[in-house]
């Protein structure tokens, strides 16, 4: 009987067409991810070359005053994307991957955005995460919405209930055939991704695979539950599609607007305003106010007194420092608010498989907000390191030509995180059980009818 069921499945035009469609979409999505990755990598390579040339050129022009030279010199820190990033572009297309900063006021530099076409962002990326989260459920719905109802509508169900010892098992077999087909499609797409993106079989990739498997299982469980209602094919199709719409469009949008309204980020603008005033107002103040604050921040530089000149680089960089120091409170508040947003989203996501899967994929591929916030923190440290290295040189008026300028290569930020398996898989597992149990009970009851 199972052979016939397989034959029957493969004869269905809808089944074959939708499987081919998902394979095509999956393969396209991998290439879109790869294109994105390549663009990032090209930009990183270009930045490395540019930094070398940029330092070389400016060192020639401004060879007399190291203070003036450092006014222009930019140093880059790169948030290196992993190849896995191609599977879920996440927030990487909005947030910068490369920070190029001078040792001046950092708060004025680190929020500079990348160049992007906002219409692309609005449309969204057709990456693997989209295929998994939006399209795979549709495939599952298309393949299983009439699993039971077609037999009833075709008047074959009565035959089956009479002939088969266990009609329920027949349903399971039909569902299993579809599950095998869907998981085979997933395997083809992920296998293709492994080859095209040269992915390593590491914990992060295995986590992506497990998450995908569980997410798909959730939709099978949902279809199974809907099947147990004994409704007509049309009702099944409409209700499953409504669930899909609820989970992919309505719930995330409502959650998003809740988050935005509940946790707005006015601190961003305040930071922008305060860092600017914090620095500029110092030009019109007694220099002592600035340098005293500077010495309080860096007691180790007290040994460099303020030169008795109208303009000095010590005073200038102390003023720049004050931009950061004055905006610090707002900047920290902004970081805290964004971390809070991240935490609240993760909480909201747990019972909503679409949001949950997307956020987890972003986490695993280092393309979420938390990765960007970590990168910003790392930018702070990078910037501070450069400052502490160059401040004494500037204050001592070190000779430009005696410095080793070749040592300043592009630096990389990368953070390895352990996969938290239970947090990753448990929420979906719970939802699957919650759907399977009532579905099973409903169908059992039917058998006895």
């Amino acid at each position: 009987m199972i052979a016939l069921a397989i034959k029957n499945f493969l004869r269905s035009k809808v089944a074959v067409a939708s499987l081919l469609f998902i394979l095509l979409a999956g393969i396209v999505s991998i290439h879109i991810g790869k294109q994105f990755l390549q663009k990032q990598e090209a930009a990183i390579a270009k930045t490395a070359a540019f930094q070398k040339e940029h330092i070389h050129r400016n060192v020639q022009f401004f060879d007399k005053e190291i203070g003036l030279l450092l006014y222009y010199l930019k140093f880059s820190l790169v948030n290196k994307p992993s190849n896995l990033n191609a599977l879920s572009i996440g927030q990487r297309d909005v947030n910068v991957t490369i920070q190029s900063v001078t040792i001046k006021n950092l708060e004025a530099q680190k929020y500079d955005t990348d160049l992007y076409n906002p219409s692309n962002l609005l449309a969204g990326n057709l990456d693997y995460s989209f295929v998994l989260i939006y399209l795979f459920p549709l495939l599952i719905i298309a393949l299983s919405y009439n699993l039971l109802s077609e037999e009833k509508e075709g008047e074959t169900w009565r035959l089956i209930s009479v002939q088969a010892k266990n009609p329920l098992r027949y349903l399971w077999q039909k569902l299993a055939i579809r599950a095998v087909a869907v998981y085979a499609a997933l395997a083809v797409i992920l296998g293709y991704a492994m080859v095209i993106l040269s992915l390593l079989l590491n914990a992060a990739f295995i986590a992506v695979v497990c998450l995908s498997v569980m997410y798909i299982a959730f939709w099978f469980a949902l279809s199974f539950w809907a099947m147990s209602w004994h409704k007509s094919s049309s009702v099944n199709a409409v209700s499953l599609l409504s669930f899909w719409m609820l989970l992919t469009i309505v719930c995330p949008a409502v959650a998003n607007s809740y988050l935005i309204n509940k946790y707005p980020v006015p601190e961003a603008m305040h930071t922008a305003i305060e860092q600017r005033d914090g620095y500029h107002e110092k030009w019109d103040m007694d220099k002592r106010i600035t340098t005293d604050a500077f010495y309080t921040h860096y007691p180790q530089f007290k040994k460099y007194p303020l030169p008795n000149k109208q303009f000095s680089w010590l005073w200038y960089y102390a003023m720049q420092q004050m931009g950061d120091d004055d905006a610090k409170e707002q900047a920290t508040a902004m970081q805290k608010k964004l971390r809070l947003r991240e935490q609240v989203s993760n909480n909201i996501a747990r019972p909503v498989p679409t949001i949950f899967t997307q956020l987890q994929l972003n986490n695993l591929t280092h393309s979420g907000l938390s990765n960007h916030l970590d990168f910003l923190d790392s930018t702070n440290k990078f910037h501070e390191k450069m400052r502490l290295y160059f401040y004494p040189k500037i204050f001592e008026e070190a000779a430009v030509n005696e410095q080793d300028w070749h040592q300043w290569q592009v630096e990389y930020f990368g953070k390895e995180e352990k996969v938290k398996w239970i947090k990753l898989l448990l929420p979906l597992a719970i939802l699957i059980v919650v759907l399977l149990v009532p579905g099973y009970i409903n169908l059992k009851r039917m058998k006895n009818m």
Binding site: T47, L121, S233, N256, L359
Partner: protein
Amino acid sequence: MRKEVLILLAKQVLNNAVRNKAVLALCGIILLLMAYAAFSGYSAYKKQTESRKKNEAEIRHNWEHMPDKHPHRMAHYGYIAFRPKAALSFFDFGIESYTGNAVFLEAHRQNTVNFSEAGFSTGLLRFGEISIALVLQLLVPLLLFFLGFNTIAAERENNTLKVLLSQGANWKEIIAGKSLGLLTMALLLLLPAVIMTVGIWALQNNSSSTGDEVMRLLWLLVSYTVFFAIVSVIAVTVSAISKTAKMALISLIGIWLLFGIVLPRATQALGNWLHPSPSKIEFETAVEKDLIQKGDSHNPDDAYYKALKDSMLKAYKASSVEQLPFNYGGFQMKEGEKISAQIYTKHLDSLLDTYESQNGVARATSFVNPFMAIKNVSMAFSGTDFGAYTRFQKEAEAYRYRLAQHMNDLQMKLISNKKLADTAKPYSISKAYWAAFPDFSYKPLSQKEVMKNEIISIIALVFWIAVLLIIINRLSKKLKAI
């Protein structure tokens, strides 16, 4: 076609709809979501506008209260321009969540527009936002498809279609009448959307609202009516050509998914692939390369600036810049600003052209996908589309340029050419000059410019009406009752 027959058929569709509990439930959900979208859109507009106005006032106040100083210091102090939310943004959020909200404007440098909602997002935003426009563009069509799939197919299955035809109704009347019924249903849902939109618009109406906005609202109303007419006819036509009602439903769901969800994303990706845009580093190095080629003001031995100096000295018969009747530093910066702004604008324009070409690919598919046409038209008339954003970006850059050059002019006129001793107090001018420089303000695109931008989408909507009329005409000769 007879009017009575059309009205009769349309009424039948409406009666069926009202009797269907699932449809009523869906209508309820749609209305609820619409109300929610209107509320959240309005509160976002109100909050953003209030905080923007407060920030703008602070920026202006600080600007005017800067003490006497050297004008070039003022050019570096600069300005922060905030992007106002469009008055109709609560109706269609468009791309506003993805564009920055503030840009720092200073001499010599074109900064990026920073702090977009997308940048603060945890990734939730990328699922999309619910605005009244989204409900009208996706959910109402889905309802029409759910209602429309059995308009003809079910009558055929129940054998009532034969009766209908034998009683004298012709195919054209049947398709038109049933479509009219669906359209009426859609308009019944459009009505609360219009009431909410006009209500909120009146609520937030400040004196600056103009006849232009009234026209935009009217155009939105017309566009959505046309769109719903297209969707209604598609639903009825598919129902007419499908063998069973079930097949009609599956086809319509497929069409909805393809038009509403898959194609917009896929075509934008295609545009991205066909018209690759430069990365930030590529863009910046290209600008810098052009600048250095023209003349590098940082290079003390630069030929261009040397020649400029010599020509000035010659024209004024002076032997050094100190003898010139104006401040030479100001003059040189003015020249530098002119050159760098020209080069930057050239590159920016070409970048925006690339983005336009990317968007153009998706826009061109409006002839295949009416959902794309309404999406673009709706955003454009709401003032939340790509065109509206680039207008802000360009106006901000124009203001930045005026500010920098104004300060250079003041320096040339009012600052002495004599170099000061190291310990002397620097030159400064009166703070009265700051207040005299006008605040940043900008005029959004007019309704006519919007139409010019979206002419292709508008033509596509008209094209769809024409194509559907032709299809109805053809089908009415071919369709069978059984």
